[in-house]
């Protein structure tokens, strides 16, 4: 947050452009039947693009890239805990038909 964290407007605008391209891509990708090639590919593509966009925002707009280690730890933890909740819960539902 102090002087050495200043990110130049050029980077901001580049990131913004990238985000716009990604938004366009995700809309177009949804209009194509990707599930035809691989079941669930549509949602996978949508989530990969969304995660990429979110990472750009965290790393550059929010200065995550330039933050102290403890801040980066907090970012990692929140994603990790979200993953625990999603994966451990879904593991129950997904494995039910196996028996």
């Amino acid at each position: 947050m102090s002087e050495h964290n200043i990110v130049s407007p050029k980077i901001y605008i580049t990131i913004f452009a990238a985000l716009m391209v990604c938004t366009f891509l995700t809309v177009e990708a949804a209009k194509v039947d990707l599930n035809h090639y691989f079941p669930g590919l549509n949602i996978i593509v949508a989530l990969v693009i969304a995660t990429f966009k979110a990472s750009l925002v965290v790393l550059f707009f929010m200065h995550g890239k330039y933050s102290p280690k403890r801040t980066q730890l907090v970012i990692i933890c929140s994603v990790f805990w979200l993953a625990i909740m999603l994966f451990m819960t879904m593991s129950d539902y997904i494995s039910r038909p196996w028996s």
């Binding site: 947050m1 102090s2 002087e3 964290n5 200043i6 990110v7 130049s8 407007p9 901001y12 605008i13 990131i15 913004f16 985000l19 716009m20 938004t23 995700t26 809309v27 949804a30 209009k31 194509v32 039947d33 599930n35 549509n42 949602i43 949508a46 989530l47 693009i49 969304a50 966009k53 979110a54 925002v57 965290v58 550059f60 707009f61 929010m62 933050s67 102290p68 403890r70 801040t71 907090v74 970012i75 933890c77 929140s78 994603v79 805990w81 979200l82 909740m85 999603l86 819960t89 879904m90 539902y93």
Partner: protein, 217 residues
Amino acid sequence: MHRTGELFGQFETMEQQRESASFGMWVFLSTEVLFFGGMFMTYTLNRSTYPDVFGEASRSINLTLGAVNTVVLIASSLTMAMSVWASQVGKKQLLTIFLIATLILGSVFLGIKGIEYHEKFVEHHVPGLNFSFEPGASVATNAHAQLFFSLYFAMTGLHALHMIVGAGLLIWLIRQSMRGRFTPEYSTPVDLIGLYWHFVDIVWIFLFPLLYLIDRH
């Protein structure tokens, strides 16, 4: 945070105070991730249980408005990031301009959201208010579509609530900024509210494909 750059009693140095504030905001945002996370979990399970009805219901919401809103919100994130930069380099007028731009873009987002909600209201797609999905839809389809719209309103509603809080914070920031309170040495409120605003943007980055873009082919 009413007086410019005051050192609060519990801190030893300004540096410590700045770092604590910023770190505190990050910790708060990690709480928010899990807060929205509970809804994402509910969404994930229900979508995997009723993929077809969710697709059908998703196609009934307005993609154009959703996409425009995505652009608007990301643009507001850009102007917010620019405000942080302006405050760091001490361009006080530019700071005010960028903050106002952010507020305007945020309000446009909320306005468009309002139009969408109105559309849904007209179509009887608001759960709890004589919901009916499509004429002739079976009881089950109706119930499952209602699940989709319950989640749609819960998730976008909570998101919009965060936007409204953010807009309130921005108004406060703009007033402070117009009084020239922020300097390169003291820009903590701009930084913190910036972090919050970007977080709200990130939530939308996930909401958009999950709610608007199911099986659009």
